[in-house]
Subunit: 202 residues, 2 copies
DNA sequence: CGCATCATATGATGGTCATCATATCAAAAT
DNA sequence: ATTTTGATATGATGACCATCATATGATGCG
């Protein structure tokens, strides 16, 4: 079939999108190529017309995820005053909603313990993503007029990631919620942000 | 072979120990039964004389790990005054040494993103372990005379876990070290513990 | 209107894995 | 010493999986 000009591109980006979700839900080794293709309405054979290898597909999906996450976050705080924006970022991240939608969330939370076992290409994509997250957090902290933004940013991010990762890892709902609530108010307290009731996201 | 009385018990506990290491290094789905047996000097066939299933083996290994971790930590702070003990726990956990020895470290750090994909039995063992860690941290904080120990404990633990998980997930050594240092001093600052030079563990 | 093209499909291939059925064989009991 | 027992070994089995070789068939082009 000589398809319309961008038929393949469209298929490709659909594949990347599906991979992005499955990657976060099932881990890099937890989803099969055939499964991905079927989910996208295709069969396994066509995969290698789109990606050099599964590893390359995972790396591309990761890049896409980080990019989308940055856009998405930006959109959520656009126009807010810096301190409010910072509080919102924290509230959105350390939330039950984020915990309960791994396939749509931050890959640092859903994939951190898989990374040490992944091939170079994947780890590089991950590193790049984390670096932009750290840089972006540094900016947010600085904009919010918080001292030591440089050294605080990685600490705050780690606390956010740890809270959501643990709350997801744990099966006990009560414990899981306790982790989220405690971490969220702990982080905000450290940054001098008031932890008001509005931050109780679903 | 009718072996000496506790021959099988010894083999069993050796298997659990090997599994405990491989589990943390390669993840629950990253090591094979045959690999485990070979590592213990046996062949794959005998496995099912020791465990009902791989899943049961992983769950038992997890219980063993958490128990050993508690003992190990206790030993490291025995006799220290409470605040010093607390600082030591944090320094040991959020350290390059811990980051670089996953097979010997805390499973919450090495396995958190695998847990949501694990079967019930494994998740239960994990939950139990996390609960004891939270309880133990609450005690340490209270003993150290820190206010809000109850709500601070999960937040502190999450920050510790996030720091080591991220520092391990990231390939870039500089970024990895930055994460550890920032998180460690951030946590200790929040608890009013002085972050002296002595806490620079290898 | 048929032909060439290329995105996708079909169908191996060789590898890995958990699990199980059965064989071996060391030593305790007699 | 022979028997018996139970711990471990050997060798399937069926299920997955990444990858590739080759077939198909839709459609823009001539």
């Amino acid at each position: 079939m000589r398809y319309s000009e961008n038929h393949k591109q469209e298929t490709h980006s659909r594949l990347v999108k599906v991979a992005a979700r499955m990657l976060r839900e099932k881990g890099p080794d937890g989803f099969a190529v055939a499964e991905l293709m079927q989910e996208a309405g295709l069969t396994h054979g066509g995969f290698y017309a789109h990606f050099e290898s599964k590893e390359a597909c995972v790396a591309e999906a990761l890049r896409e995820i980080f990019a989308q996450l940055a856009r998405h976050t930006q959109k959520n705080v656009e126009g807010l005053p810096p301190r409010h924006a910072l509080a919102t970022v924290i509230d959105l991240y350390v939330s039950p909603r984020h915990r309960d939608s791994a396939g749509d969330g931050c890959p640092v939370t859903s994939l951190n313990s898989d990374m040490p076992r992944q091939p170079q290409a994947v780890r590089e994509a991950f590193d790049a993503g984390v670096k932009t997250m750290v840089a972006s957090m540094k900016q947010r902290l600085a904009s919010a007029g918080i001292d030591n933004a440089e050294s605080l940013a990685p600490a705050v991010l780690a606390a956010m990631v740890g809270a959501v990762s643990m709350s997801r890892a744990v099966g006990d709902k009560t414990l899981s919620d306790e982790l989220l609530v405690a971490a969220r108010s702990g982080i905000k307290a450290r940054l001098g942000l008031n932890d008001n009731a509005l931050s109780e996201f679903a």
